[in-house]
Amino acid sequence: MSKLMISADLEALRKKVLSQREAKSKWVTICTGTGCCAYGAEALADGFEKEIDKRGLCKTVGIRRTGCHGFCERGPLVVIESKGNICYVGAQLKDVPLIVEKSVVGSETVERLLYLDEETGKRVSRVEDIPFYNHQTRILLKNNALIDASNILDYIAVGGYSALAKALTGMSPVDVLNEVKEANLRGRGGAGFPAGVKWESARKAVETPKYVIVNADEGDPGAYMDRSLLEGNPHSVLEGLILGGYAIGASQGFIYVRQEYPMAHKHAQTAIDQAREYGLLGANIFGSTFSFDVKIHRGAGAFVSGESTALISAIEGHVGEPRPKYIHTTEKGLWGKPTCLNNVETWANVPFIINRGAKWFRTMGTEESKGTKIFSLVGKVNNTGLVEVPMGMSLRDIIFKIGGGLPKGKKFKAVQTGGPSGGVLPESMLDTPVGFDELTKVGSMMGSGGMIVMDQDTCMVDTARYYINFLAHESCGKCIPCREGLRQMLNILDRITAGAGKESDLDLLEELSEFMEMASLCALGQTAPNPVRSTIRYFREEFEAHIKEKRCPAGVCTALIEYEIDPVKCTACGACAKACAVGAIQKVDAKTYTVVQEKCIKCGACYSTCPDKWGAVVKVPALPATQSPAGPGALFEAKA
């Protein structure tokens, strides 16, 4: 393929691709994001290929494996595109011939595979009519469902790289920078620092060369929007990065991908190779004087490496530990040179801002937070998946309108935003609009966009312990306040969840929090107390129940509960006994089973196996005498 020398070449190529595609009257698009693949999307796509081939429809029907559509809960997702579109949810391999027969050859729908709107009781065929989608504003995610990530022509067909062409032929680097600054694009990685300001200081820095970096070390547990963007539409991130390089005067970019995302790495590499082939990377892009290239670095599984200075250190080949930021990375970053680092989603916003202008971007969002934000709506919610909404939508709307509320009619208890640096918000805070400052004000934060919904069965003390355990494990140990503070916090929380908490523990946690916030070296330690602070702030009574009454109201903390079988409800089906991995459930007589407490490891397998209609396995508070919150030193007792 010849390189694109001038911007007109891009437009010509786009028209050519589109006209070639007109030959096909229908497209079958199959979501092959990680979620759908787990449900067998790859096999499904193969099935469609075979079936279309068998019927000799290859010339008129195209097949496309796309990135994540977002509605992962109902995967695998199949969309038949012709004049309108038909969206099938949860299609299986055996359904392929029927779908092809009805919707590809004919123009009918297969009713049972359509989305069922619980509220109206009607089946919905168009994507736009599914409630999960129709409350969203999908800008960044839109193309994910339309293009094959491993084909640059797909991206060009939807108008890809036109922002780059526009910038390189008609805008100076300062114009690009001003546009982004005016749009008030704030960093999507967590802190919400204005990208334009960051770019400007990198541009003004004297030293050269300069570097731009994509931070795709998405370490927040419970968030996967960066993965989805990089897997589903890597060119949009790449285009943003090239634009950033142009604006600040860098000629080398890096994409730092975490190793746990092999597909993101693969697709990003393919995108880079293809962009080089078309002359969108390399020397004199679009015949301008601007040259730029990109390399990929893989992370190796360390949460703290997502911190900017740690990430830079890792690219240099050292251990990914943070360093003090007396001098900003925009002045002295990678190899001591000015470096501009932004999150995947931030970069992906740039082409849209350049194409449609800062004014358009500012029409969305709140006063201080502009544009849209992708959230990974997960946990105890009906429609889990990736949602993109304008800033300022309330948490309630996201969880109940888009997410469809909580499953099994359970009661909403809390929502966690911002990952391990964020906080937990109770029902009273549900009307908070999502925005950087708004969420910080109520004791949480935006973070990278994880939104984990919790229901009545979630224990808040356990949740706090979970995050502190995570952070204690991920703290790099370089500064003492973070390393020791987290360890002590974990000790205290371990004690409370084991039923050995003291009344003074809550004050001690508060004190530790304050100290860590002040004295830690990097954001990991400074924000680490947030999960503890917010849970104590909003769910103090739950902590007190653990400490004073040695009781876990949600029935989660294993030291404080026991499993029992209600002999009246038990139908002796034996399902629980089969599920038990340690043989702790024994048959008493023909009609009853019982839990042998000495053998029970409290895994809860029996509890979740027992059919809801019986509900015979119950959690009961454990007797205080059976608790033995044994530390490692107390493993061996001296003989009496």
């Binding site: 992962c72 998405e218 547990p221 360390a302 946990g379 979970y466 809860g604």
Partner: protein, 372 residues
């Protein structure tokens, strides 16, 4: 109780257990067994002297833990008979009534160490580790060969790994008692053993050296890909981890020489990042996601289930290096929570039945990646 009768009736093979624990108190023996297994030792338990001795006679363990005071045959009597029936086995005396006299008496009848209950698990493991090393030396001296040793290539002074073992021997004869040194040496020993086991089917010792050479050539291809650039160290290690499934020691030394970075720096990186393993991993990797979304949807329960089905604790690899079980902070499949990844495939909360099917479906005959 079950394990005890099983081991007592079905005669164990020599080398089947590393440690035998003899005590009449079941909570103690069970605690010890768990600690030892967590420390990587295969342990058997016996509830009295005679039973223990018969176990020792057939299994020839490296170390035996004996309680001083037991009804019937006392610990001292057990030790007295032990030296006749299993001269290489290293006895360690344990007691809840530690006095100077009893300690001296134990040492006189050949106890290698004397532990007073209660003790820290780490103290037990350290003592057993030292005992195991002494056992290796004793066996060498006596010319006793075990099944593993028969298959392994004969000792060769030029062999890189066996030289490590020599150093180990020297350290013990000098009575060095530094914990870090011990860990390092224990590691070296484990690695040498692993190589001996992996190369078991190969008769010629030259082959071992050739294999190491092949490994290093493979590493060179990786290094070339990154132009022998120092800054690419993490990327190089990631490729090595992917190719070999772990970071073998000889390879790390090789990288250090080739890239001109210190071994310390390499180890700092290897220990810092989760992805890297300094121990051989199984051919199949089972990763349980413990991300927040999975956590609130019952990841802990799933982990227990997976752990019980595989018979492995998180972080462990089975003896045949078939499976490794690890936990991971987030797989980024939060919508499917709770989720596990087996090799490259993701599964949404598999039941015990499903898990067993998945495990069975994996090809058991795949050769270790390291030797392909």
């Amino acid at each position: 109780m079950e394990t005890m009768t099983e081991t007592a009736t079905a005669r164990p093979l020599p080398g089947q257990f590393d440690v035998v624990v003899i005590d009449d108190e079941e909570t103690f023996t069970e605690g010890c067994r768990q600690t030892l297994e967590m420390g990587g030792f295969r342990a058997a338990v016996a509830k009295n002297g005679p039973q223990g001795l018969s176990l020792v006679r057939s299994a020839h363990p490296g170390v035996v833990l004996v309680d001083l005071k037991m009804p019937g045959m006392s610990g001292l009597e057990v030790l007295g008979q032990l030296s006749a029936s299993a001269p290489c086995t290293v006895p360690i005396m344990v007691t809840g009534h530690g006095t100077m006299d009893s300690a001296v008496e134990s040492m006189k009848v050949g106890a290698f160490d004397f532990l007073t209950k209660p003790f820290e698990p780490e103290r037990l493991l350290e003592s057993v580790r030292r005992g195991m090393s002494l056992n290796v030396l004793r066996k060498e001296r006596e010319g006793v060969t075990e099944p593993v040793a028969v298959l392994a290539p004969a000792p060769d002074k030029n062999d890189l790994l066996l030289r490590g073992l020599e150093v180990l021997g020297e350290a013990y004869s000098l009575g060095l008692d530094n914990r870090q040194l011990f860990d390092e040496l224990a590691y070296l020993e484990a690695e040498a053993k692993y190589h001996a086991q992996s190369l078991g089917q190969i008769k010629k010792k030259e082959r071992a050296i050739l294999d190491i050479r092949d490994d290093l050539r493979k590493v060179d291809t990786i290094l070339e890909k990154y132009d022998f650039e120092k800054g690419a160290l993490i990327q190089v290690l990631l490729d090595v981890q992917e190719k070999f499934n772990w970071l073998p020691r000889h390879i790390l030394h090789w990288i250090s020489a080739r890239l001109n970075v210190t071994v310390k720096e390499i180890y700092t990186i290897a220990a810092f990042y989760e992805t890297f393993s300094l121990k051989p991993r199984g051919r199949h990797c089972v990763q349980v996601c413990t991300g927040t979304a999975c956590h609130v949807r019952g990841a802990a329960e799933m982990l227990t289930r997976v752990s019980a089905t595989l018979g492995l604790q998180p972080g462990e690899t089975d003896a045949e290096q078939q499976f490794s079980l690890t936990t991971v902070h987030c797989l980024g499949c939060c919508a499917l929570a709770p989720v596990i990844q087996v090799d490259k495939q993701y599964y949404h909360s598999p039941s015990r039945n499903k898990l067993e099917k998945i495990i069975k479906s994996l090809d058991k005959e795949v050769q270790p990646v390291c030797l392909s």
